[in-house]
Symmetry: C2
Subunit: 357 residues, 2 copies
């Protein structure tokens, strides 16, 4: 029996909030009849109450908590933090801190959400920096890629932390016990890449964490599904994720143009419509919505700011899966092992082997 | 009137050499009747002569120079360099050094080609490291991305060199006088990214080189064609290029599966066949074959090792366009200006502004 879960939601975050937020809650709520899931909505009651009136399942499972303020999508993190206390985002995270909620979801300002999450929830034991993990469609299903933008420059030991947290996140999402892990590099041979990835490769092998580590993978391996969890720094991961999005859009636009080439191709495309619909669905970014900030002392899920109700409901599902999993316990053990490798006598050994920690 | 061009070819380089090499030469040669283009083929005469007998246009424009040895695809650069003298690759580059040929093309071992090119041709004046530039399909046509793998870690001044060389390369390929240039980053705001990209951004603006510089672009901007020339370090560029290849293959495979979904989609796909053929052609990696090593004291074009005759002919066209362009003169002026910014009184200014050079 799944444990009862409470998700705390920043109802004012996102380009089209609060409408898409309530639509997303409604989509998930309509199938929940056993009380196993509840929501706390933080935001402007005047805007949210009419939406709840139109979405009875969302209303049934939600408790609305009014806030007078919210963080704007355009606020810089430094601005946001000054005026954040009492905002919908602050209160949404604070409900996780107080233990009222198992997880927080926001489609709001990424930088502000990151800073406030860190301020309120602090880091998990032995985790040093939050990291953003995203799901990615592959030939085999979907993978997790991290970091996709939080840490522009990473030390080797951080990449190993990412591996530990990404592994537990993949398991939480897909209920798969031993997902494979790869380090993103410019080649698969030992000598390829920069010092950081080579050191991370050595460190992950030397720390006996029971990870299903496969070594280096190259960029094309992400979409092929070469591994379940792709570990990289936030600069490379962000560029890779956006490059893939751009390439998928380019291909879709070329396909559209080529199907309009002649009356015959237009007829063919019409007959094959259900196939195109399936293609669109398989690559639908809304299906992969819900980046998680890993490494914090609580679960914070970041929905894409421009998503719709369906996309937001998928971010809620990520929060739900994380809440029902043993994610926190799973990373705690391995982060402690890593910390021991880095700090105890083994540290000397690692240093001797040229592993910068 | 275009100047007469001689292209020196490593006929033994590539997974399917020398057959694909001669097929590529034949494709280009059959339209050349005015003596404006000739080839020097370096490789095993016993293997190449029968191929030339079957490809009369290639034979008509080519001079064959026998070599007993060639660099294996699997050789490490260090091995290759020890036994390279007199190999087909060495001799192909050497013909550029001696002035007999305007450019060299090889589908062989990338690392070996890079090392031998540098040893034989040295760097162009004021250029510090070779960089690999690749063409990339976009919504607007095609872009140039560099570096895609030669320089794993780059200083800010190197990225500016890449911008100068990429600009001249794009102009050589597309005969477009003032291509736009962008720096690949994780956001478009000034404060985004790591120190190196921010410093490169400041440096490119401070050096008065007349470049059409547009600032930062994100990963999705590459395929959208946000700029003509995308500048990045070799780690990020390599990951981005391979990630895009992987995504394009994933999309193609999903499309294939979705068109086999039902008899109706199969019929539709059959009717729309010419549209699918055009889509395939638009994204055909063979059309974008031909990465150039920029920054050397001569033109060296690297064809993909696994390409076929059509792909190899496109690498030859890149060499031809480079040979007919004023590429060398174009980069010489701007590299000199950059060197002055970095070394003359302005250096103090740049340092004051925190630009690491």
């Amino acid at each position: 029996m799944p444990k009862n879960v409470v998700i705390s939601i920043d109802a004012m975050g996102g380009d089209h909030a609060p409408a898409i937020v309530i639509a997303g809650v409604q989509l998930l709520a309509k199938n929940i009849t056993d009380g196993s899931l509840r929501f706390i909505l933080h935001g402007d009651a005047g805007l949210i109450e009419p939406l709840l009136a139109d979405n009875p399942d969302a209303a049934r499972l939600s408790e609305l908590r009014h806030t007078d303020t919210w963080v704007a999508m355009t606020d810089k993190p430094s601005q946001a933090i000054r005026r954040a206390r009492g905002s919908s985002m602050w209160n949404a995270i604070d409900a996780v801190k107080s233990g009222e909620a198992n997880a927080c979801v926001s489609a709001g300002n990424t930088g502000a959400l990151m800073v406030l999450s860190k301020v309120l929830l602090h880091m998990a034991p032995n985790a040093h920096r939050p990291v953003i993990a995203a799901s990615w469609p592959t030939l085999r299903g979907s993978s997790v890629v991290l970091d996709v933008g939080a840490n522009i420059e990473c030390a080797a030991s951080q990449l190993v932390e990412f591996a530990i947290m990404g592994e537990a996140f993949f398991t939480a999402l897909h209920d798969q016990p031993s997902p494979s892990i790869g380090l993103l590099n410019v080649g698969t041979e030992d000598l390829k890449g920069n010092d950081v990835v080579r050191q991370a490769d050595a460190l992950i092998r030397s720390a006996d964490m029971g990870l299903n580590y496969k070594g280096f993978i190259e960029g094309d391996g992400i979409s092929f599904g070469a591994v379940d969890v792709v570990v990289t720094d936030g600069f490379t991961g962000n560029v890779a994720l956006k490059t893939a999005e751009g390439t998928a859009k380019l291909t879709a636009e070329f396909l559209r143009q080529c199907m309009k080439k002649s009356p015959l191709t237009m007829l063919g495309a019409l007959l094959a419509k259900s196939g195109f619909r399936e293609l669109k669905s398989r690559l639908d970014p809304r299906k992969f919505n819900g980046g998680v900030f890993l490494g914090l002392g609580g679960v914070v899920v970041k929905s894409h700011g421009g998503t719709d109700g369906y996309g937001f409901s998928n971010a809620l599902k990520v929060a739900l899966n994380m809440s029902r999993s043993d994610y926190a316990a799973r990373i705690a053990g391995n982060l402690e092992k890593l910390a021991k490798v880095l700090e105890k006598p083994e540290k000397a050994q690692a240093k001797k082997e040229g592993v910068s920690v």
